[in-house]
Each structure stands twice: as C-alpha cells, then as structure tokens.
C-alpha cells in the first residue's frame, strides 16, 4: 500500500531519515520500532504529507505523496486516520465535539446518528461516559484513548498510530493492542504503529521495522526479529545498555568530556 524509496530528511544537522526504503502492506500491521529521537514520528508525518521529505519518494496507492498538491493530499487523507503522539485533541472542545469534529466537517449526519457513532467508538476504547469532559480534565492515558477514538471515527482504511500504548497502564495497553488487532483482523484496517514498547510490538506485528537514528537496521517478522543475531537488534530487544548502540547521544567519550571541564 505504501512504498518508500531512498527517503532522506533532516532538521538542520539532525538527520531523521537516511536513505530509508521500506514498504507497508495492505491489511497488515507494520510496527516501526526505534529509540527516542530516531525519527519515527517524523517518518509518519512524511508518509501522510505533513512534513516535506528532502529527497526520495513515498508511494501511496500509486501516487507519489511527495509530489501531490494540497488538494490531492486532503483527498488522500480521507482514507487515513492518525493518532498523534501527543493525541492532538482540540483543547477548546469537549471530548464529544473532538470526536465528532471529522464527522461534522465531512458528513451530513443527524446529531442522533453522530451520538450513536461516538458512543460505539468510546465504548471500544473504554471511555463511554466521558463525552462532556474537556481534554484538560483527562489523564494522559485517557487522552490517548480519546485520540484513538477520533482517529477511527471516519472508519479509515489505514490508521497510523504514534505510540498508542506509551503512558498507559498494562490493562489499558492490552485493550488498545487488542483494539488495533481487531480493527486489522476483523475490518482489514491497514495499520502502521510506531512504538518503543517491544512486547506489544512483537505481539501485534505482522512485520517489524527497526529504525535507528534515521536508518533502518532491521526488517522482518516478529520471529525473525526475535531470532536475529545482529548485535544491534539483540541489544535493542533486550534493552541492554551495553552494545553497538550507544546510550548517550554524544559521540565524545564521557571521560574525555569530563576532563575537558
């Protein structure tokens, strides 16, 4: 469904994508794993055309996203849903109006139908009854689940989830994982999940892509990733501080840096 070829992108000196090539298949769940700051959110934003790539191409249903006009992008996004990392709820609207927003903008439905649809989605994320609260009255995890409900309210064919389970307690995380799986297995929603939660990732993924400071260091099924002998992959999935992936962002040796004063 999506094919990325030789994608490059940087914010000034920080490279967020270095010659990235990969593809996301229809009706599959692809999980992008990677440490903090490795460019996962930026990659998602480029796929949906919110961020311009420096070079390379991103093909979505046969169209090159990097070359689409604004109008064509808006058209393309009608098939997409996105859960932003910070949920991106409109803080001037209550929960109901937040979720109803895309419906009211693009469909002419009666308020009664909208109400029913929202009840269904809120039930799916376990938050029925919070309709009249404001986003500032929700906890981080609840905000995330409302963001998820809003992302799927238009029944998109493809959903991008930016860290859907981070900041959630294990039970809510389990519910969200099951929801992502159900949407995919029962309704065939193509899913792209960004995460650094290895357990969840290996559980729900059909395919895993590991991103490391803008570079793809491994791609494969969860089994392949689990059995990988690549030291970088082993270090990443075991979460070991020692290995080829440095914990610190600085290239300088810590001792040398200390001695410099």
């Amino acid at each position: 469904m999506i094919t990325i070829t030789n994608l490059n992108h940087s914010y000034g000196k920080i490279a967020t994508a270095k010659n990235v090539s990969c593809n996301f298949e229809t009706n599959k769940i692809t999980v992008i794993l990677g440490g903090s700051g490795s460019g996962k959110s930026t990659l998602l934003k480029q796929i949906v055309g919110l961020q311009k790539a420096d070079s390379g191409s991103i093909e979505f249903n046969g169209q090159d996203v990097t070359r689409l006009s604004k109008r064509a992008l808006y058209e393309m996004r009608k098939e997409m849903g996105m859960l932003f990392q910070g949920s991106a709820l409109f803080n001037s609207f209550n929960i109901f109006d937040n979720i109803a927003f895309p419906l009211r903008q693009h469909r002419s439905l009666s308020e009664k139908v909208i109400k029913t649809l929202i009840k269904i989605k809120l039930e799916m994320v376990g938050l029925r009854g919070t309709e009249l609260l404001m986003p500032s009255q929700l906890s981080g995890g609840m905000t995330k689940r409302v963001g998820l409900a809003r992302a799927i309210i238009m029944d998109p064919k493809i959903v991008f989830y930016d860290e859907p389970t981070s900041g959630l307690d294990p039970i809510s995380a389990g519910v969200i994982n099951k929801l992502i799986l159900d949407l995919n297995r029962k309704l065939g929603v193509t899913s792209v999940v960004v995460s650094h939660d290895i357990e969840s990732a290996l559980l729900i993924a059909d395919k895993v892509i590991i991103l490391f400071y803008g570079e793809i260091i491994a791609t494969g099924t969860p089994e392949e990733i689990r059995e990988s002998t690549d030291p970088k992959v082993i270090q990443f999935i075991t979460g070991s501080p020692d290995g080829p992936i440095p914990f610190s962002v600085s290239d300088k040796k810590f001792i040398a840096d200390l001695m410099e004063g």
């Binding site: 919110l50 058209e75 009608k78 932003f84 409109f90």
Partner: protein, 257 residues
Amino acid sequence: MISNSITFLGRGGLSSVQVLGRSGVFLALSLYYAVRPPIRMTRIAEELEFIGTKSCLIIFVTALFTGMVLALQGYYTLSKFGSEALLGTAVALSIIRELGPVLCALMVAGRAGSAITAEIGIMKITDQLPALEMMGIDPIEYVISPKIIVSIIALPLLTAFFDIVAIFGGYIVGVLLLGINEGSYFGDMVKTLTLHDIYSGFIKALSFGLLIAWICTFIGYTAKPTTEGVSSATTNAVVLSSVSILMVDYVLTSILF
C-alpha cells in the same frame, strides 16, 4: 571581513524579503478563504466573542479615563486663551481622529493579539494544526481566516465605542466638574465635526484591525515549535504590532488629512 558583512547584510535582506513575501501569501490566502463559501459562521461568532465582546470592558475603562484626562488638560490649555467653550470640539477631534483608533488598537493588540499568537503557537506545538490537516481541513481556513476577518470587523466597532465613551468622559470632567456649558460642549462639537473626520478614524481602525490580526496570526503560525518559541513569539507579536500601529498611524494621518 568586508565581504563577510556584505554577505551577512545580503542574507538578512533576502530573508526579510522572504518573510514579507510569505506573510503576504499567508494574508492573501486567509482573505480568500474568508470570502469563499462555506463561510464559517460559528467560528466567526466565537472569534467575535473573544476579540470583540471580551475587549469591551478594557476599552471602556481606557476610553473613559482618556476622555477625562483630555478634558482636564484641554481645559487648562484653552482657558489660557479664554476659549474654554471649545473644549467639546477639542476632545472630540483628538479622540475621533487620533486617540480613539490608536489607543483602541493598542489595547486590542495587548489583550487579544497576544492571545491569538499564543493560541496558534500552542495549537502548533501540540500537533492540533497538523491534526486538522489530517482531517482534511486547512488550518489557515479554519483557524486563521476567521480571526483575521473578525479583527477587521471588530476594530471599527470597538473604536466607535471608545469614541463615545471618551467623549462622555470628557463631558463628566468638562461639564459636570469644571462647569462648562453643556450646550457648548455638545453643540460646538456637532457643528465642527466633519464627516471626513469620522471617515478617516474609521479607515484607521480598519487598517489597524487588519494589521494586528495579520502580524499576530503570522507570528504564531510560524513560531518555533517549542515552548520558548511560542513565548517569544507572543512577546514579538505584541511589540511588533504596537510599533506598526504607531508607524502606520503616521502614514495614514499624512495621507488622510
């Protein structure tokens, strides 16, 4: 060294031309969306409430005291020439032609302008603007355009309100406190005021409304996506719009009178 500073100047010039160009496109797009259907009446009502209604109290207080102090000072000056009777005219002319539009615009820039920049900046750093784009809504159309159009509508209305309150403030001091004849306060005012005075005050108010909204929305929209970015954008927006109000006021005055 010299070539260095020349490149530096060149680059500075180039980037300010670029900023001017981009902000021009930004404004043109917002104005285009404002007149193209669908007209977002709910959004316009929300912004009218925020930029207009909520500015009324502060405009009332500012106007009242401006009118009062103007009457006090004017009385002192005019009495030196024995022409206290002209006080009403003096107050009305300086309010309608000059102080009304300018002070009203400065108050709106400080109250609503800063809030506009902060709101847009926060929507940017919390991904609310990208979220709108994901839902197929252009943020310039939905968020920015109503703010600009409402600011252009609200400023003349607020200025008219300011003028009336200030003239009333002058009346309190001039007539009730200093004992000027009520008939001469209002009578001479009506006789000497021309339509042109009112019309030029109106043009000023319109221009300031556009100016505040343009500067404050553009700075918010292009703010660095960090908390410091948004807070410095807010300060810059207020400073820049206040200074431009005073500069544009001079230009307009020299053209209109």
